[in-house]
């Protein structure tokens, strides 16, 4: 039986030769992502800005009549709705600001939801109301704050963990690749204007955990090789480590992608944005573990002596025989 090999044995691709252009590209991408986030802005959902969101599925219509809905809802006098399709074209979310005074009287928000759903049902018998979310400004502000706290705390905690397990340079490398991954994903949300809600924060947290898996595998191999080949120059050693783990990096990324793509194609529409965020994250995470996390070690001047300062006689003997051979 012949098995599939995505990567031939003993590849020797000199990834790090192109590190400078790739670094410049990464820097441009990160800057561009933040530029998009700051100029175009994220399409924040009611979780983060407060308001009311009504989700409607049109069961017998191929595509939801967005323009018509906008007019129907707009006519009720509650202001302009934000109407967006998500997942499938026949599912929409209708977002409204909460009516004046609803902070004191929650009934007003209820009345608005009832009027809107009634108005939609008059025109469209096949409309199915899937859910109504009302979030007050106070709660949404807190949700946004805790969401951001969670993201920053996760990035910091993971970087610190890497620092403790490896060396400080590795921690910094991990942090930069996390910033890279999160920035690019945020950039995608700014460009596509997909709704950014609590679930997306959960997706970003997941992404932070998973995108670092590849980085850790590469780092682990770098550490191992640094013990083995003490006199090898860093760029070469990094290239060797990346090449040795290349097959693994590709296979694991591919296996996660298989399940993610199946979720994107067949999974519940409500979590389309969530899955999309993680999918993109896996791509940029794989790239960043090769081109962000590894080369940064050269600039931070990691060398074999900064690592594993103590070597027992036995290890020394072993190393000498290995290097001799």
């Amino acid at each position: 039986m012949k098995l599939l090999k995505l990567v031939p044995d003993n590849t020797n691709i000199r990834f790090l030769r192109w590190r400078l252009p790739f670094y410049i590209m990464s820097a441009i991408l990160i800057a561009a992502s933040w530029g998009m986030v700051l100029t175009k802005g994220l399409n924040l959902g009611v979780d983060f800005v407060g308001g009311q969101m009504i989700r409607v599925t049109f069961q017998n219509t191929a595509a939801a009549p967005v323009a018509e809905l906008r007019e129907t809802v707009g006519r009720l006098g509650y202001g302009e709705p934000i109407i967006q399709q998500f997942g499938k074209p026949n599912e929409v979310s209708i977002r409204m600001k909460l009516p004046e005074g609803s902070a004191q009287n929650a009934d007003l928000a209820d009345q608005m939801a009832r009027k809107i759903t009634a108005a939609i049902k008059v025109d469209h018998a096949d409309a199915r109301i899937d859910g109504v979310d009302s979030v007050s400004g106070k709660v949404s502000g807190e949700l946004f704050k805790t969401g951001m706290q969670a993201l920053l705390a996760a990035m910091a905690a993971i970087s610190i963990y890497i620092w403790v397990r490896f060396e400080w340079q590795f921690g910094v490398g991990a942090m930069f690749s996390l910033i890279h991954d999160v920035s690019l994903t945020l950039g995608m949300f700014a460009i596509t204007q997909m709704e950014f809600d609590l679930n997306i924060v959960a997706a970003l947290l997941t992404l932070i955990g998973y995108s670092l898996n590849d980085t850790i595998v590469v780092y682990d191999r770098i550490r191992e090789n640094m013990k083995k080949f003490r006199r090898m120059p860093m760029p070469e050693l990094l290239d060797l480590s990346v090449n040795e783990t290349l097959s693994r990096t590709l296979v694991t990324s591919l296996s996660v992608l298989i399940t993610l793509v199946s979720l994107l194609l067949f999974g519940p529409n409500v979590i389309f944005g969530f899955t999309a965020a993680i999918t993109l994250g896996i791509f940029v995470g794989t790239y960043s573990s090769v081109y962000m996390a590894a080369p940064i070690l050269i600039w931070l001047k990691v060398n074999p002596t900064s690592f594993v300062p103590t070597e027992t006689d036995l290890e020394r003997q072993e190393r000498l025989t290995r290097e001799g051979a």
Partner: protein, 536 residues
């Protein structure tokens, strides 16, 4: 590494089987089969976003608790000073700036007053924390300032009571399996699955149901009342607006003191007024409450008194005769429905603090069923594709990987059922994702074994090295995932937490199945077949 004695194998298999067995009831119930009653059948709960229902976040206003505490203190101080022997005359009592302050008429009695206040100001807690700080200014002005510990305790107690009251009210609605949890210092989360009309529930929860009976100050000038000016010793209370009207209904002046609270009730029922046939609420006092009410009505025959609910006057009937039976009828502009709601609210007791809805999410029942169906399809397609990929990439080792994957799936479900966790919509995604990530460890191991073989190690040696060397990276990688999932759980809410729980369970089981179980299988195969070559 590859040594698995019989007892260890037995042990590993029994853990696996037990966890898988726990998944059985949940799996069967999806297929519409229920286990006979009596058998333990742990099941995975469906979150609101899958089962449909309402999630309501209520927030209390701590300022209100503080204010009420000051008012109670004022009354207590008056009572204590009156009851003291000899009585201590006080004056200029006020509850301004968050303190209770008053003047002791005879400066010589300040120490006696201090003595009397001793039990009121020292905390009920055994910690020695005081509830109030007592200060004497200018020789005879006593100032009582609540301590932070006392305020925190009062708010916490108020929230406990409020949670209990909310539970009673929801139970009275007859909804099934509501979840009512306190969240943080001043919030309560209410989750009711399968609820069709959250409006009724919210109305019921929004009602504080604080009932008071106070005498009407008939000497107050209507012109003063209209301007909101109350005569000394009285206060202005607005009238409850008639249903449907948006006009303010005016106000009346009532005496601040001498009224009674309607909190000592044994029952409250919706009924009808025999003469007008309008809906009313009949309340029954307990013995003490009944006695107080009898005294109030006996002392004030022929005078009007105000029935005040949540700071609004429902009605102000004239007391025709003493009411000594312990039951009374509350009239107002009720509909049958609103009278019934008030009865439920009164029966379950007043909320010690107003609750406001600050977040509400409701999900229709169809969406959830839809999501589960789609989630299962996505899971099926993803898993089959992934297993094929593993099989063509790693052959025999891919087969072990796949077996571990199947057991992993069952174990996640089983542990979720045992822990009684809730499966949410993002949780489904977490589940599918975990499957994709679970093979990570196997890929790492298999690739390493491949590598060691190409370097020329013997089969057994290569396998052993594969597992040892890969474990380090597997460990580190999973720790980072645990960190992310933990933070998600700590900071997240509702559905996101459900996702975090699935991730964490998945991380634990995947390490078990992907590393420990496959190692056991590979070791068994190596012992039996003693291969000299690996197809990998």
């Amino acid at each position: 590494m590859l040594d698995f004695p019989r007892w260890k194998q037995l042990w590993l298999w029994s853990i696996t089987l037990l966890a898988c067995l726990a998944a059985l009831p949940s799996l069967l119930s999806v297929g519409g089969v229920n286990l006979p009653a009596g058998l333990p059948s742990p099941k995975i709960n469906l979150g609101l976003d899958l089962a449909g229902g309402s999630h309501i976040l209520l927030e209390a206003n701590p300022e209100q608790v503080k204010r009420q505490r000051l008012e109670t203190m004022e009354e207590d101080v008056r009572a204590r000073m009156r009851q003291a022997d000899p009585a201590i005359r006080i004056g200029d009592i006020s509850t301004k700036d968050g303190t209770v302050s008053f003047i002791v008429a005879d400066p010589g009695q300040v120490d006696a007053a201090r003595e009397q206040l001793q039990t009121l100001t020292s905390g009920a807690q055994l910690t020695g924390q005081r509830d109030w700080d007592l200060q004497v200014l200018d020789g005879n002005r006593v100032v009582l300032r609540p301590t932070q510990a006392g305020i925190d305790l009062a708010i916490s107690q108020a929230m406990d009571t409020a949670t209990e009251v909310v539970r009673k009210r929801i139970d009275a609605l007859g909804t099934r399996e509501p979840t009512i949890i306190r969240q943080g210092a001043q919030r309560i989360v209410v989750q009711v699955p399968g609820l069709k009309d959250p409006a009724a529930l919210k109305n019921l929860l929004g009602q504080t149901a604080k009932l008071e009976f106070k005498m009407v100050d008939s000497l107050a000038l209507p012109s003063d009342v209209a301007q909101g000016i109350a005569p000394p010793g009285s206060e202005i209370v607005p009238l409850e607006a008639a249903p449907g009207s948006t006009q303010p209904a005016g106000a009346i002046a009532v005496k601040r003191l001498g009224g009674i609270k309607g909190d000592r009730l044994t029952n409250a029922q919706q009924s009808f007024d025999q003469q007008t046939n309008e809906p009313v609420v009949t309340i029954t006092f307990d013995q003490q409450g009944g006695a107080k009410f009898a005294k109030l009505t006996t002392d004030n025959v022929g005078k009007p008194f105000a029935i005040i609910l949540d700071g609004k006057v429902l009605s102000s009937p004239v007391i025709n005769e003493p009411i000594i039976g312990g039951t009374a009828r509350i009239s107002g502009s009720f509909t049958i429905e609103s009278a019934n709601q008030l009865a439920i609210a009164l029966r379950s007791g007043a909320l010690p603090v107003d609750l406001k809805v600050v977040e509400e999410r409701s999900v229709g029942p169809d969406l959830g069923a839809d999501s589960i169906a789609k989630g299962m399809i996505a899971f099926g397609v993803g898993t089959v594709a992934l297993m094929l990929f593993m099989l063509v990439t790693y052959g025999r080792f891919g087969f072990y990987t796949n077996a571990a994957l199947i057991l992993n799936t069952l174990m996640i479900l089983g542990i979720m059922a045992i822990m009684n966790t809730t499966l949410t919509l993002p949780g489904i995604a977490g589940f599918v994702l975990t499957i994709g990530a679970a093979v990570d460890a196997n890929v790492l191991i298999n690739e390493r074994i491949r590598e060691e073989r190409t370097r020329g190690r013997r089969v057994v040696n290569a396998v052993e090295m594969g597992y040892t060397e890969a474990s380090r990276a597997i460990f580190d990688a999973n720790i980072t995932n645990v960190i992310a999932a933990t933070l998600m759980f700590v900071f997240g809410s509702g559905p996101v937490r459900g996702f975090a729980v699935v991730l964490m369970i998945g991380i634990a089981t995947s390490v078990f199945t992907a590393v420990t179980l496959t190692r056991m299988w590979v070791a068994g195969w190596l012992r039996r077949a003693r291969p000299s070559e690996l197809v990998l």
